[in-house]
Amino acid sequence: MANQSELLPRESLLWIFAAQFAALLPHFAQLPLWIVCAWAFAVYWRLEVFRGRRDLPGRTVKLLVVGLTVAGLALSYRRWFALEPMVALLAISFTLKNLELVSRRDAFLSLLLAYFVAATLFVYEQTIPYALYGTVCVVVVTAALAAQLGHFSARPRRALGLSLRLLAQAVPLMLLLFIVMPRLGPLWAVPQNNSGTTTGISDSMTPGDFTRLSKSDKPALRIAFDGPIPPPEQRYWRGLVYADFDGRRWSQGFGVDPREGGVVRWQGREQKLPEVGPRYRYRVIQEATNNPWLFAMARPISDTRGVGETADDRLLKKRPVYNRFAYDVRSWPRETLTDDRELSDFEYRRYLQLPRGGNPRTRAWAEEFHASGLGAEEISAHVLKYFNRSFTYTLKPPALGADSIDDFLFGSQQGFCEHFASSYVFTMRAAGVPARVVAGYQGGEWVEQEEYLLVREYDAHAWAEIWLPGRGWQRVDPTAAVSPERIRDGLQSAAADEFMQDSLLQLHRISVLNRLRLEWDMINYRWYQTVVSFDSDKQENLLKKLLGEVSPLRLAAFIAVPVALALTGMLLWLWLSNRGRRLPPASRLYQKFCRRMARAGIARRPGEAPRDFARRVGIEMPALAPMVERITAAFERAAYGEDPAAEKQLRRLLRQWSPRANFVFGRTADGGRIATGE
């Protein structure tokens, strides 16, 4: 096409650069600096070319630039098949394209790329601000596309207005497609964005880890219940089980992590469900952690794809949670199940494991319990009573020495959940009771009349489980012995003075802000529930709700009716907007008259005044003259004299009269012709 070889005008260039900038802006933080600089430089160069100060780079320069960028990419990214290199590649293609942005075709190519770059943004984040920004991007890119045609369209307001109008018209169809179009699963494994550092609870626990978490009020989980809701003291969201202790650090140890050979029952595999039904059904929406573990109450089973249950009653995801992830869980509290399983030798060894030496006082103390022949529950009660007597719960525990358990139990006696859990499990193991540390979240805050439970990072908690022969694993929370408020009311009331002390603004103390934050979280939650996590299940449910049943016929009607309506609307618009401003009635009547005259063989010329036309009719078709003169006179009075009576007269005259009939009559009846001809 000839127009595609046209040189790009200034507005086009500026629009293209604006679109590129909008699409790239959120990526700037992740892209290597050199790519950003290269892009900016390419834009600068192209503008200089436009001003005539420079030439477009020649072939050698281009080759050199391509070589350099490929080398740069290779250096910056080790892995090629991942998201970041892809975005970087797109950014680079922008840059290179800018250096040869000559024709309209180049402009189109560049803008189509911009759409793609704008979309990759969503792969990183699907939150509302990102969605809004993405929308802005699409509007800008579409406006830039519109601006490529004609200088009227390139005016900023016109281009943006056009773009907004077009997109607004596209939205209804988009919603329809979004609801109706089937969701296929991933067609092939795609590289995930795994560059982010892991957040939340990690796979090991050292003193201070949970204190760090307690300073963050970022949401971790959102839990919506379907049916009964567990009481606050039951809300333990188990995520990790630490079995291995090296004197300072608790870790999962060998055999728990599925990657190390642990037993995980993946969903979809045959499994025996307990005979009684689950007590709790709920859906957990977990923020990205970049870790594979999920959080649920004890004895969970999940039907969500890619989620499996481990032998120690936890949920795992096949691949780390790189994005916000929702999973449905059914939980059977342990007391509802009769677990006649015995611990294997391996498990005994595992849950009694202690480091070789260290913490002699604790070992000696535990030995006393063991020697006195107390049962596991009694030992536990003793230890908890000891905690209850003289320990304090604090967010700022003093530093501990090499024998951290000894130091804590018999020295500082001030600590956070991890200290209590750690020392409790240590003591129990030393006393010969299989025990383990469980980490996860405890508690949560209701949002919007108990629509869902918001669990934040500062709700991170560590507690213990001990094995009771015949009853299985029992949860023991040593923190509860020290600070029952922590379990009942959460951290904020348990450690009110210390809570979030390091944050710059004590925002949590302002209740209005707190409410606003909860509102915002609510909006986010709804957003996630309705849009981001809209999958084939939800799609089916929604369609069922909308259509009653999902049959092809109903589905077809569901699509066809709005489309037909839209089509009719558009045709109506076309028809209406093609018609000129509605003429006054007299003019319309006169036009009707003119159309009839044209059919009779004499058409009024555009610039011909009614009276001149009547005169011409008088000459060319004398038979028609008297009537035409009457009509013309009536029209003139009606339209220009604004005489309503004349308008009525005109209407009457036209109703009775047709030039063709008159014409035939005038020709045949000679008398009439003579009479009218004069």
């Binding site: 189509l112 699907q126 045609l149 004609g150």
Partner: protein, 340 residues
């Protein structure tokens, strides 16, 4: 028809012919054409295809990452694509094209036609291209005005009356992803003058037909180069007053009449016969060149070609007549018999 046909590809020709016939049934030639659905065609442009490709890639991205926002964006773009043809179509639909004038031109040059493009209704129109395919054509907007006059050019090769092929009117508004077009025949006929070819200086004084009696007798002294003053002759009633020797009369002498000897037609005749030995088209081209030259030098000139004769005169109208006579000279030379 003057547009070149591709002999090497008869099938393409046949196809084009079929197309033309179909088109002429669908929109017959008329000096005023209103575009409507029966005359408009619409298809995605190449950019539109690229857009669809991007949409497909986005869908893959969204599906593979199970990313609803990417999928939503994909659907938004699909919907946008679905909405566009309506706008592109609306941009042309209801436009009225009217031929205002087809300007004459010289062969080998561009013939220009003035066309009025107008919209009824309040809907603005943008980025409309009107022209004959191989040419760039004219772009217009009906944004702040409701009608515009454009001038489109067609290269013309042969002299005579040239029927212009169908005009193409096209728009890609609003995003360039769809192309809506129509072929309209505005019944344009160009008058194409011969291509001016130099044949040396003007044949001033050259006469071939001395003996011929001119039916258009014009006083010779009104012309240049023919007034050889031959002396004075006593005035007789009936003599032309214009030839009175006033100077002598004022000097007190009798009334005399200036006498002119030469009766030969010494006016400038651009004569077909002066250019013997050349072929018809070259002769016409040469005559055309002379006529233009004479007009530029403001010399009265006449034209004599087989079948028509125009008395010497001057001015735009005369030039127009002369050139028209040359343009419409029959292709087979000497149809109207030899110069008499």
């Amino acid at each position: 028809m003057s547009f070149p046909s591709d002999i090497a590809r008869p099938i393409a020709d046949r196809w084009r012919e079929l197309m033309q016939r179909w088109l002429s049934r669908r929109s017959p030639p008329s000096r005023s054409v209103t575009l409507d659905h029966s005359k408009l065609f619409i298809l995605p442009s190449r950019a539109g295809m690229g857009f669809l490709l991007v949409v497909a890639l986005l869908w893959l991205l969204g599906t593979n990452y199970e990313n609803n926002l990417v999928i939503a964006l994909t659907f938004l773009l699909v919907s946008l694509f679905a909405v566009l043809p309506v706008h592109t179509f609306a941009n042309l639909s209801g436009l009225r094209l009217q031929l205002l004038a087809a300007r004459p031109a010289f062969a080998g040059d561009y013939a220009e036609a003035d066309i009025d493009v107008s919209r009824s209704g309040s809907r603005v129109r943008e980025w409309i291209r009107v022209g004959w395919p191989a040419e760039e054509g004219a772009y217009l907007d009906l944004y702040e005005r409701s009608s515009a006059e454009i001038r489109v050019a067609l290269p013309v090769v042969a002299r005579g009356k040239v029927r212009a092929p169908r005009l193409r009117i096209e728009s890609r508004f609003p995003l360039g992803l769809f192309r809506c077009w129509s072929w309209v025949d505005l019944d344009i006929e160009f008058l194409v003058f011969p291509q001016p070819l130099s044949a040396g200086p003007l044949p001033i004084g050259a006469t071939l037909s001395d003996s011929e009696s001119d039916d258009l007798s014009v006083a010779p002294q009104a012309l240049r180069g023919g007034d050889d003053f031959a002396g004075l002759k006593p005035y007789q009633p009936g003599d032309s007053l214009r030839h009175l020797a006033w100077k002598q009369y004022a000097g007190g002498r009798d009334l005399y009449n200036k006498n002119y000897e030469s009766h030969a037609d010494t006016r400038l005749w651009l004569d077909w016969e002066l250019l013997g030995g050349r072929d018809v088209e070259t002769r016409l081209s040469n005559l055309c060149h002379w006529a233009l030259q004479a007009e530029r030098q403001q010399i009265a000139y006449g034209l004599r070609i087989p079948g028509s004769k125009l008395a010497p005169a001057q001015g735009a109208d005369h030039l127009q007549r002369v050139l028209t006579a040359l343009a419409l000279f029959p292709v087979k030379g000497g149809v109207g018999g030899q110069s008499k």
